[in-house]
Amino acid sequence: MLGKGVRSLLYAMTGVAIVFLYAPLALVVVYAFNKGRTAAWPPDLGTTRWFSVAWNEPALRPALANSLKAGVAATLLALVLGSLAAFAVHRFRFFGRGSISFVLVLPIALPGIVTALALNSMVDAVPFISFGLPAIIVGHATFCVVVVFNNVVARLRRSQTSLVEASMDLGADGFQTFRHVTLPSIRSALLAGGLLAFGLSFDEIVVTLYLSGTESTLPLWIFNNLQRPTNRPIVNVVAMVVLVISIVPVAIAQRLVSDGGRRDR
């Protein structure tokens, strides 16, 4: 359908976008092997010593552990709350139904600093949540709900209700139908939403800054170390390693999600 000229223009624009997306990442990888401490151009390559310096950095591991804990806990909370909200919106008609997505998207649509300030005054005022990991988890879960909700609601909209009816007609009760029919059909949507939620939490800095108390997370560690120019190479190394480690699960999830999406249609 597309003319030759249009097609090559499309390829060219796609190429430009990909180069734009990857030039800075390439720079991070290059500077991880830079001999000097500062990011002078051109880089003087050929050292792996920053890897061992990063490995022995004492503050890094607790920060990373906190990030993983906060990410997992916030993701689990978001999975439960987000899919419940998706089911409510998909299965029922009720007053204010149209506003649910509006309320859920607010924490991510409002500026990070506003969400941070608001949650900070809440944690300050409420006695049973303390600054540190609990506050971080509550804050992260709040803005992660929407990504799970969006994924699940989109999947529910595309899946056929006739399957649920067939299961009920064949004598399964509501719980059995949920376990054997509904859950398998939304599994890949939960995976996609969960992964996105984890990614959001793992990379969040502004809300975390205002809720962390004395605790540190990986982004906070990076924030503190980027302020010290002499620590920049270690930060590059850490960023590169995290990026490389994340590629495999992201690629697997991507494949599962696109397969799941195709089977539904």
């Binding site: 624009m13 430009v16 500077y31 151009w41 998207v105 506003v114």
Partner: protein, 298 residues
């Protein structure tokens, strides 16, 4: 053992049947946890923050004086600084949104309608991976790329653009924002384009429309919800980000005003009052976006 198992199964079955009959209970059980969370955690937080915005900072003791009044709002309206900050922030958010949508549309179209399944998988992966590189690292990478004497500077010098200085400028902030949020623009547009049924395009061609006309009259209108959904991200993320301008630029934005009032000045009431400006802008934007059906495409 068998009897207990079947007894508990019977209970589950009766529970399920009871739930089936009582639609209201089922709705309440499904809806109340997420709703309660959002109300108790988030809306209460916002209300507390709004309340703070009517209090004042005691200049002598630098503690918060909980006397109600509009003084913070009077400060904002009375000085041109905040108007300037708001316009600058709004202008940047709009510029970044337009640029990202223009950059995102071709690659989204490629992913959803042109590429083979294999290439499509690879391209979508390539779009998502940068999101997994730490946000601050990516901002710093741009700082290094655009620094005086850095890679971009040398490139410009080589092609005779010696006078262009991007380091610590509004242009650097614009480029970095466009970079940061580009994947968030591509994904919803690609998803919306993917949902356009091929039969519509065939019908359009059968009725005599050439490719360009089908694009303008069929594809673009059906992509609008995805485009608006993408713009929600690019717009609101730019509106609120205060770290990028301090790291790669020199001008201050609304977020900087809030964060500096919270930090050194410790004037939480005024910060809360300023926070109302982006809240209003985002709420207006979301309300407009909702009308276009973008929420279905997020």
């Amino acid at each position: 053992m068998a009897t207990t198992a079947s007894a508990s199964e019977g209970v589950l079955r009766r529970l399920s049947a009871a739930l089936f009959r009582h639609r209201g209970v089922r709705l309440w059980l499904t809806l109340s946890p997420p709703l309660a969370w959002m109300l108790l955690v988030y809306l209460v937080s916002l209300v507390l923050m709004l309340a703070t915005s009517f209090w004042r900072l005691d200049a002598l003791t630098s503690t918060i004086d909980r006397t109600w009044g509009f003084q913070n709002y009077e400060t904002i309206v009375g000085s041109s600084t905040y108007l300037k900050l708001t316009l600058r922030t709004l202008g940047m958010a709009l510029a970044v949104t337009v640029t990202d949508l223009l950059l995102a549309f071709p690659i989204a179209f490629m992913i959803s309608r042109v590429a083979s399944p294999r290439t499509k998988g690879l391209l979508s992966l390539l779009v998502v991976i940068p999101l997994w590189a730490n946000y601050l690292i990516r901002v710093f990478a741009w700082r290094t790329l655009l620094a005086g004497g850095g890679p971009v500077d040398s490139l410009f010098a080589a092609i005779g653009l010696d006078s262009v200085r991007l380091a610590a400028s509004g242009w650097a902030v614009w480029i970095t924002f466009c970079y940061l949020w580009l994947p968030f623009a591509i994904l919803p547009i690609a998803a919306a384009l993917e949902r356009v049924p091929s039969s519509y395009l065939e019908a359009s061609a059968d009725l005599g429309a050439h490719a360009g006309m089908t694009f303008r009259k069929v594809i673009v209108p059906l992509a609008v919800p995805g485009v608006v959904a993408g713009s929600i991200f690019t717009f609101s993320l730019t509106l609120g980000d205060y770290l990028t301008p301090t790291l790669v630029g020199k001008d201050l934005f609304l977020g900087n005003a809030i964060s500096s009032l919270l930090g050194t000045a410790n004037n939480e009431p005024l910060a809360a009052a300023i926070a109302v400006i982006p809240i209003l802008i985002v709420v207006v934007y979301l309300t407009l976006a909702k009308r276009s059906g973008a929420f279905e495409a997020l």
